[in-house]
Amino acid sequence: MHAAPLATSWLGQLDARARLLAFVPALVLVNLVGRGELVPVALAATLFLGLALSCGHGALSVLSRGLFLLPFVLFVVVTLPFAAEGQALFALDLGPLHLAATREGLELAADAGLRGCASILAVLVLSGTTEPPRLFEGMASLGMPRAFVLVLSMVYRYLFEIAGELARVRRAALARAFRMTSVRAVPRLGTMAGAVLVRSVERSEQVNRAMRARGFDGEVRTMTRERFGPPEIAFLALFHGLLVVLLFGV
């Protein structure tokens, strides 16, 4: 359930708020750099990659998660050259479809692809070094609405329970010769999903009771065990200093 292989690394040991304050603004900054500024964005991506690799064992497993997101970036990179107007470079004739790639389109594709990769790397380092519960704790103590953070925590907590529920319903159906692949199965699948939904509603009522029994009155109270000290301040100063220099050449 806790999916942060780098949580015990030097970066993972820092207060979760320090990582949030580093990588969330970094995502914004990477996308604020002027269009066509490929080198600064590539340097920022290298910084994020370097940080991941400096965390040692587990870095590759974290980076490999990015492979699931790469197809989306690739789709944008492949289609953009044909979507922008400008100086034609080459053309593709696909039956009735005539597609012309332009220099402006190619530049746009490279720019979007690089920003996409840099953003994915930043998110991977943040999620790979921070267990979700610590992330939620950090978000709450940084002033994010507590009700929102509580809902997010509960979604995370029960996502696995609902997946387990679905698996049990599926197993029960398969045990009674139900074929998932048949077209006739579609209405039944709808009914099964409905059954899981009804069970989830019942569970939410029980959880609500358990919360009220422990004094919950609608106001969300949280407490953080994180400690924001000199190492966090030093990390943030170095990280943002370097990032600004790389991106804006200041």
Partner: protein, 245 residues
Amino acid sequence: MHRPIIETSDVCFAYHDGKPVLTGISLSILHEDSVGFIGPNGAGKSTLLMCFNGLLKPTSGTVRVDGLPVVEANLKEVRRKVGWMAQDSNDQLFMPTLFEDVAFGPLNLGLAREEVLSRVEDAFRQVGLSGFADRAPSHLSGGERKAAAIATVLSMRPEILLLDEPTNDLDHASRRALIDLLKRLPVTRVVASHDLEMILELCRRVILFDQGRIVAEGPTAEVLGNETLLRAHRLESPLSLALRR
């Protein structure tokens, strides 16, 4: 032991469909007593436990906890005194880590950070889960999950513990550990269960419910030894009692 800590007078309750679940329940539970609620499915045991904590409001009649009427204005104090544990530990453990779950109640009581930390640590120690604070509920065994669920209630330092089917889904070793843990807790215990062996071991007194009414009450061994009475209400005498005869 002689001071009543829970008192109900003519409590009736019906859910939205109007079907009566509890009818004319009047009882008294003494301070530091250990009482078992037994009866067939749908007898109203769990519903009555929820009325004690103010989770459900009786349609008529009154519930008092330590002399305090269980009404909206007193709910905070009532819930500080009365710890209720859900039947399914998954409903009780709703936060991503055990620490957050065990700290949830004390935070709602408005306690200071240091006091919350000390209570959380204490509760973990009492249930034998020291060092489990950062674990996720889904990473625990059934027995550990049940112990953690009890810790979420103990951190509120309740005077009364309401347990709904605490031994459900536990293997023998976990069930034994749970019974031993409950025996050690210096609080008033009200346990609703079908596990009559556990009731026999844990409770000094039992109340037998059927169709929302109290049909018998008395010392545990006496009620559980009455086979005719139990059979009439779809129950069976615990094997250990039958063997003793």
